[in-house]
Structures are given as C-alpha cells and as structure tokens.
Amino acid sequence: MELRSYIIRRLLLLIPVLFGVTLFIFGVTMLFSPIERASLYVSGIRDLSDLPGIIERFGLDKPFFTQYGTWITQVLHGNLGWSLAVGMPVWDAIRSFLPATLELAIFAAPLVVFTGIFLGTRAAAHKDKSIDHVTRILAISGWSLPTFWLGLILMMVFYSLLRGFFPPGRLSVEMDFVVHSAGFIRYTQINTIDAILNLNGPVLLDALKHLILPVITISTVNIAFIMRLMRSSMLESLGKGYILTARAKGLSERVVVNKHARRNALIPVITVSGYVFAGLASGAVITESIFTYKGIGWWAYQAASRLDIASVLGFALFTGVLFVLVNLVVDILYTRVDPRVRLGGGVQ
C-alpha cells in the first residue's frame, strides 16, 4: 500500500477510538447529578444560591447525548473548556504542561531503550552465564518495584540524606527567576534545551539536578521490561538458521550477535518502545505527583482528584491521539527495519 493512503486510513481510524474514549469518560461523569456538577462551577458563597441558574446556563440537566453533542461541537471549534484545577483553558494547560513532561521523556526514553537493548543483548548472548542471572534478577526486581515507593526512597536518600542535592520540582526558586527574566529566551519551554540555547550553565545544571530522580524513578520499571523483551527476542533470533550460517562462515561472535542477530531481534522491541515513549509522555502521573514535577501527568492527577471534568476529557483526548500517532510511527518504522513487512498487510 502506498504510504500516504496508509497514513490517511490510519488517521481516520483515530476517530472512532476517540469517540469511544470520550463517550466513556463522559458517561462516567454523567453519573453525577446536575446539582453536583453545577456546584463545581461555584466559586463563592454568592454563586451557591444560583445553582439552578448554572444548571440552566450550561445545560447540565439536558439529555446525555445533547450534552455530549455540545461538548463535541465545542471541541471541534477548538475549545476544550476551562481547567478548574489550574485556572486556565484546557488547551493552554496542555500546552504549558507538555514541555515539562516531554523533557522527562526525552531523557528517560533513550536511557530506557538503550540500556534495555544493551543488557538484553548481553544476557541473551551469554545465556545461563552469570551476567544472564544477574540481569534476570535485576529485571525481575525492577519490574516488581512500586514506582511511587521507589520515588519516596530515592527522595529519602538523595534529597533528605544528602541535604537537598536533588530537590523536587522543575527548577529552584532562583533559577526559576532567571528563566522568567527578560534576558532568557524560552524557545521550547524545555528547560535544559533552553539553557543550552541561551548558553546558561547554572540553569542547565539546576534543571538536570531536578531531572535525575524523576528520570530514574520512571525508567527503572521500563528498563526491566525492555531488557526482558530484548533477551527473549534475541534468544529466538540466535536460534535461527541464518545465525548458524553466519557462524559457519567463520564470522566473529561479536559480528554474529551485533549484526546478524540483533537487527532481527529489535523488531518487537521497537513496537514496545513506541508504547513506552507514549506512556512516558502521557502518563508520568505518579512520578510527577511525587516529585511535584509540574508536567501533564501532575496536571491530570490534580484534575482527576478535583473532579475537573473538562481537564480529564482533554487529557483523555490528548493521550488517545498520542497513542494512535505513536502506533502509526512505529508501523512505518517497521517497514524500515524489516523490509518483508508491507504497510497494511502481514509479512510477505
């Protein structure tokens, strides 16, 4: 299939998925009575007597599909509603919190993917040797760690014991001041990249110090996952006939492992890496909450715990789009890694 028509078809598939996701969340919030939902708009004691007015104004007592229709129409006009949790439009909230989360993902994703692939390859190449056993124990342990607890332990050791060397948040107060000063141009809102572009060392150092613990917290589980996947994929690949051929040709073991076996073993890992990146970018909810790292996951948690329906719906739309797009990119990458795979079809 031609690339462009394939992309168009996949993007069309996005529509029913997004309908389903939003219908579901909308249905859940409709379990509240109109009065309960109206009270979310109450900001002062004076508004309290006006609950029927609010219900009237926002049409909160209309039938389900009428309300859903109103919301969808607004979304199609580019209006995602007002985020009560942070006091700004939902669209602005997504735009202002996304860079922080992207920054986290930019550091965590390569760490996860490269460490996972490297360790997984080593483990498979030395199956049943000591490195295989050690990485296996590390992976199973890492996979069993509760993320939130790991975050707390890291904070206890590195923040409390080392006297605030790796503090929570995104920047210290002074550096936050520098970043928001006139001389500092925020090209991307991603602190480390902006610091490099502004040639500002202290800001870069400070941003990195704030990033280390959240990145470790969020990466541990994912590294364990990729590593195990890579190992089993490599083992399968090493058992294939072409490996026997390569060895019989007298190629060195390193070339056999790194060139012949790994290329083919990477295919499932690429798929999962796509999901890992989408997961990092959309749902660092726990990590961001623990470290009060104000990214999109932190915002989503604030919104959900405050019943901020517009924000939760906005976040749902955002992650839905992200997952489908990442999937699409992964499928296109497939054809580059494995020439046998055709777009829209199976293996030839």
């Binding site: 029913p16 998925v17 389903g20 996701v21 579901f24 969340i25 859940v28 919030t29 379990l31 509240f32 296996r136 124990i137 199973i140 342990s141 996979w143 069993s144 760690l145 509760p146 993320t147 939130f148 607890w149 707390l152 332990i153 904070m155 206890m156 923040y159 409390s160 014991l161 006297r163 399968e236 058992g239 959309s282 749902g283 909810v285 726990i286 909450s289 623990i290 989503a300 948690y301 959900a304 715990s305 019943l307 939760v312 976040f315 749902a316 992650t319 839905g320 997952f323 489908v324």
Partner: protein
C-alpha cells in the same frame, strides 16, 4: 496429572522460582493467620481498620509495643502490613476472578462466532486499551467515591480487554480443531460446543496468565491507594501506609533518616509480594514456552 508434576518439578529445580514459591507461601500464611500474628485489640470493631495509638501526626519509632513503629496518625505499622496481606489477596482474587469471567464470556463470543460481533467487541477493547488506565481508574474512583470497591471496579474495567483478547485468540485456534468439527457434526449446540469442547482446551494459557497477574493487580491497587483514591483512612492497605509516609521522607537536620521505618516497611511488603509472583511468572514462561520444549 503428569503435566502438573512436571511443572512442579521444574519450579522447585530453579532457585529463583523456588524463592518465588516461598515468598508467596509466606504471604499466604500471613494472610490466613493474620488474627493470630496481629490480634485485633479487644473492643475494636472492624479488624481491617488499623488500631491507632493516639492522634499525634508524627510517626513513632519501633518499640516493644509497636514492633514496626507507628506511622502518621499513630496507626500501628505492624498491624497494618499483616492485615494488608489479606487486603492484597482479596483485591487480587476478586479482580482477577471477575476479569477472567468477563474475558471468557466476551472472548468466546467474539472468537467462536466471529463476524460483526467479533468486530464490535474487539473495537471496544481497542478503546479501553488506548486509554491511560490510571486516569480512567482515577476518574471512576472520583465518581464512585474512594473505597476498596471503587478500586476493584476500576481495575476490572481496565483489565478485562487483555483477557478477552487472549481468550479470543486461543479460541480461534481451537475452533478449527477436528474434535470441535466432530462435535458440531454430531449436532451439538453452539453453547455446548463452546462449554464442553472449545473452552476447556483454550483456557489454560489464560488461567496461567491470570494467576501471574495477581502481583500486577496488587501493584496497581496500591498505586491508586497511594494517590488517595482507595481505601478509607486507616484501612489496612499497603498503598495507603506508603502514602502516610509521604510527608515524612526527611527527618530533622540532625537525623535525616529518622522516619525510615514508616517509609520503607510498607513498600517492602508490596515489593516482596509482587516479586514472589513475578519470579513464579518468569519460571512459568520458561516452562510453557514451546520454543524451549522439554528436553
């Protein structure tokens, strides 16, 4: 029967899976004998509510009276983690049990009949799987009110699609077997063919996967509780005990690790519980992987 004996022998032969079996065994014993290990004080009504020793916020270090100390609000940590094992098993068994039931019903309908029904059910699973589970669970818990029941409902809703898909896949394979064809040829009804011939042969992988998911379910439930969306305050639950410690990760300047017991102990229970299931799961995967066939 020989299958089971082979599986059991393989599990004991591998030191890692043996550790897993032992860990799970310890937790089962803790859960069963919780009333003996951590007796409920007289006059305390609900044994699942942790008894508290006053209302002072600051955790107290381990002492003769409180072996693991008390956490924020003077809840006894030892009592909490012991009865928390019961909570963990209960949540896991209920969630897994109901999920697999839903999975079996929808998966076999989709797999056996195919066509439009299959398409509809699979698109529904797509929707659920495209969704960030934590946010879905958070929204649900927010609506239903924080309680263990809401946590379980939320987990069931986010967990069933993978089982429905797994069982559907297995049924698609079994459906084409000769003995199914034979049963149909003999005039058996669809219901009978599914219940007597297809399911018993298709369900084994799903059951294995389900038993190994216990650790993952407990981990997710703990995460929700940690975010304050689970059990009511004071309920014996590992996630909540960890949340209590969130404000106490750093002690005074002179003693930064002063509250280590409140932070580490509940998390260690979660970790070892999940580790036990994951070690077992890893061994199972090796045993059942057809590529590593018995030699």
């Amino acid at each position: 029967m020989t299958d089971w004996r082979f599986t059991a022998r393989q599990l004991v032969k591998n030191p890692l899976s043996l550790i897993g079996v032992v860990l799970i065994g310890i937790f089962i014993i803790i859960a069963i004998f919780a009333p003996l290990i951590a007796p409920t004080p007289a006059g305390h009504h609900d044994p699942y509510m942790i008894p508290r020793d006053g209302y002072w916020a600051e955790p107290k270090p381990p002492s003769a009276e409180h072996i693991f100390g008390t956490t924020q609000g003077q809840y006894d940590i030892f009592y909490g983690v012991i009865w928390g094992a019961r909570t963990a098993f209960r949540v896991a068994l209920i969630v897994i049990g109901i999920t697999i039931l839903i999975g079996i019903v929808l998966g076999s309908l989709a797999g056996y009949f195919g066509g439009v029904l299959d398409e509809v059910i699979m698109r529904i699973t797509d929707v659920f799987m495209a969704f960030p589970w934590l946010i879905l669970a958070m929204a649900l818990v927010a609506v239903l009110g924080p309680s263990m029941k809401s946590v379980m409902i939320a987990l069931i809703l986010v967990w069933w699609p993978s089982y429905a898909r797994l069982i559907r896949g297995d049924i698609l394979q079994v459906r084409e077997e000769d003995y199914v064809e034979a049963a149909r040829g003999l005039g058996a009804s669809s219901g009978r063919v599914i219940m007597r011939h297809v399911l018993p042969n298709a369900i084994y992988p799903a059951l294995i996967m389900a038993s190994l998911d216990i650790g993952a379910v407990v981990l997710s439930a703990a995460a929700l509780s940690f975010l304050g969306l689970g059990a009511p305050e004071g309920y014996a639950d590992w996630g909540q005990l960890t949340q209590f410690a969130q404000n106490w990760i750093s002690g005074p300047l002179s003693d930064p690790l002063k509250y280590w017991y409140a932070v580490t102990i509940p998390g260690l229970f979660i970790f070892f519980f999940v580790l036990g299931w994951n070690l077992l799961g890893d061994a199972f995967r090796d045993i059942f992987d057809p590529r590593l066939a018995r030699r």
